[in-house]
Subunit: 193 residues, 2 copies
DNA sequence: CACAGATGCGGACTAACGGTCCGCTTCGAT
DNA sequence: ATCGAAGCGGACCGTTAGTCCGCATCTGTG
């Protein structure tokens, strides 16, 4: 990629963040973004393909640290930790991420409304949560005749649904991140019996 | 309301259904709906206020029978039934409704993307589910020291999230309504411990 | 039945958006 | 310094939700 292209790409991402921070998730048209970035609209589309692509890439950027933490051993998030604690720690981090990026979450949701299940970041999260639920479920039903009636994939979707921007905003409006974290935790713990 | 107004209202609702059935949830512009109903666009907007209003009213119509069942004693859905069974029966019915109205659910979701928590139908469902979860929770923690850590309002949102059109379609694509029902049931039962 | 005014109608119009296109500019390898 | 490839910008297009207002249609009243 040419150096000016890289610069512009960065400018667009930063301008998008700026607009999300100042105007919330709405009325962020791509014309505005391009103008704020000091760039033509064509440039924006060449870099990101579509509105969807723009928000997906921005979310991926913001979620990069978490993606890394998930894979590096040593933290309660990483491999090696017991699945239950690992899941709870992951959900806590996700809550933090949601809080810090509420507007982005909302914009991303809207932009990905179609095929939301094809967003790479969501897919990673979903695969992770599914695996942890399944693992914890196996462990539990091995030591006792626990119910095998839980659809891990499905439960993962439901759990991740907790971070729907509107829901998260609603919950945090009355209790902040702490409330979000504890509500999600309550839900997750219920899934373990 | 004048008689021609009533007729047109009906024509618009039926045309919307027709288009949803034949074209899925997408590319249903209000121009198309008006044309299919043999009515001017102004008429459509006078009756329903906005795209959102149109789909809200259509959903309300489709959900009317369920709303009635919830309130009439005698069925497992109605008052008097034990909360746990009442909730499971309600979720089963919702699954049926979702299956029969997938396209409408999808269109409704899209149209109500903003303030989805202000849709009257959703609010009724949410209040109902919240009450049942809370009731069941009280019963359980009264007879044993069950965890009080479950946020009923939040859990209700999560549970209702199961009927997100995309999720429901995804699940039903691989197992039909039966799979949707059993996955939701698994989730709900997990919430009861 | 005739009338009048309230109610409703239709569809041209607007503004805003996502996305495309193409002639021109800039970059950077040689 | 040169030249082809890569990138740029913004005018342009098609589509959409929503508005507006002159005209038609209903319906309660005498």
């Amino acid at each position: 990629m040419r150096s000016d292209a890289t610069r512009n790409r960065e400018a667009i991402l930063r301008a998008t963040e700026e607009l999300l921070a100042t105007h919330g998730a709405e009325h962020i048209s791509l014309d505005r973004v391009a103008a704020a970035a000091g760039v033509g609209k064509g440039t924006l589309f060449r870099r990101f393909g579509s509105r969807t692509g723009l928000f997906q890439e921005l979310l991926a950027e913001r979620a990069a640290a978490l993606a890394l933490a998930i894979e590096s051993p040593g933290s309660p998030l990483g491999p090696g930790a017991p699945p239950r604690e690992r899941l709870l720690a992951f959900l806590d981090e996700l809550a933090e991420l949601a809080q810090r990026n509420l507007a982005l979450f909302a914009a991303h949701e809207r932009a990905c409304a179609d095929d939301k299940y094809r967003d790479p970041t969501y897919l990673r999260w979903h695969a992770h949560v599914t695996a942890l639920i399944a693992e914890a479920g196996r462990a539990r039903s091995a030591m006792s005749g626990g119910e095998g009636g839980l659809d891990a994939e499905f439960a993962a979707h439901a759990l991740l649904g907790s971070f729907d921007a509107d829901l998260a905003r609603h919950v945090m409006a009355d209790g902040g991140v702490a409330r979000l974290k504890s509500s999600v935790r309550g839900l997750a713990e219920a899934l373990f019996g």
